[in-house]
Amino acid sequence: MTEKLLFTGKTHNTNGHAGGARSSDGHLDVKLPAPHPAAEQLFGAAWSACYMGAIELAAAQRKVRLPAGLAVDAEIDLNLADGAFFLRARLNVSVPGVERDQAQALIDTAHTICPYSKAVHGNIDVTTTLV
């Protein structure tokens, strides 16, 4: 199997009080006034959406039917310790209609599939809770 590019997200950013980000297709156009947890909100939304796709893929691989209502509430902290910034994440996952052990297995497996989980693996603290 060779590597295959699926899509590329392109954005243009400017900083400062009137700063913002705009995607090349114009569908994403957000103001990013500093200081505001905008970057962390964007990361929370990006990771959650991709992670939910990974849960669906994990369910399909295991032939588990996922009823509607899958949801992820993400909390991304920006921290400062001894002058250094770092992130910490909590993902609170709701998998209604799936037995708890089965749901736990799905959310664990999803971290090995989701490219955002893999991108931060070992570098930041991530707590995933089945709610």
């Binding site: 590329t8 392109k10 950013n13 964007l42």
Partner: protein
């Protein structure tokens, strides 16, 4: 060693549906977006665009901080064009990133020094270090 740990802020988002048909909203309501697969008829953004925007915004702050530490005045706004690829490789799905940085009015070797400094302090660069391919270019 992290002797003192202070949380500066916490971003809270609620996401339902996936990258092809989801919606995501922040607890303060300032982020409220629809997700869609690129090229589909549904109007919406993608996780990769969101991540590109978030990382760039944070990286711009890191450049400003690096400049401040070196007593370098940035006279014009930092501009970053980011590209985040979602790819499928041997080990499954993976991300690759390119940040194209423009620092108007800053001499090239000074700009390189600032970008290198920013890469060490940006929390998104740190969070992904060693796990994904990142190319940072001065344009």
């Amino acid at each position: 060693m992290n002797h003192f740990v202070g949380v500066l802020h916490t971003a809270k988002t609620e996401t339902t549906g996936d990258r092809d048909d989801g919606t995501s909203r922040s607890s303060d309501g300032l982020l409220d977006i629809r997700l869609s697969a690129p090229g589909s008829a549904r109007i919406g953004t993608s996780p990769d665009q969101l991540f590109a925007a978030g990382w760039s915004a944070s990286f711009a702050n890191a450049i400003a901080l690096a400049a401040c530490k070196r007593n370098i005045a940035l006279t014009a706004k930092v501009r970053i064009d980011a590209e985040v690829d979602l790819a499928l490789g041997f080990g499954g799905y993976l991300l690759t990133t390119r940040l194209n940085v423009r620092l108007p009015g800053v001499e090239r070797n000074v700009a390189r020094n600032l970008v290198d400094g920013a890469e060490k302090i940006c929390p998104y660069s740190k969070a992904t270090r060693g796990n994904i391919a990142v190319t940072i270019k001065l344009t």
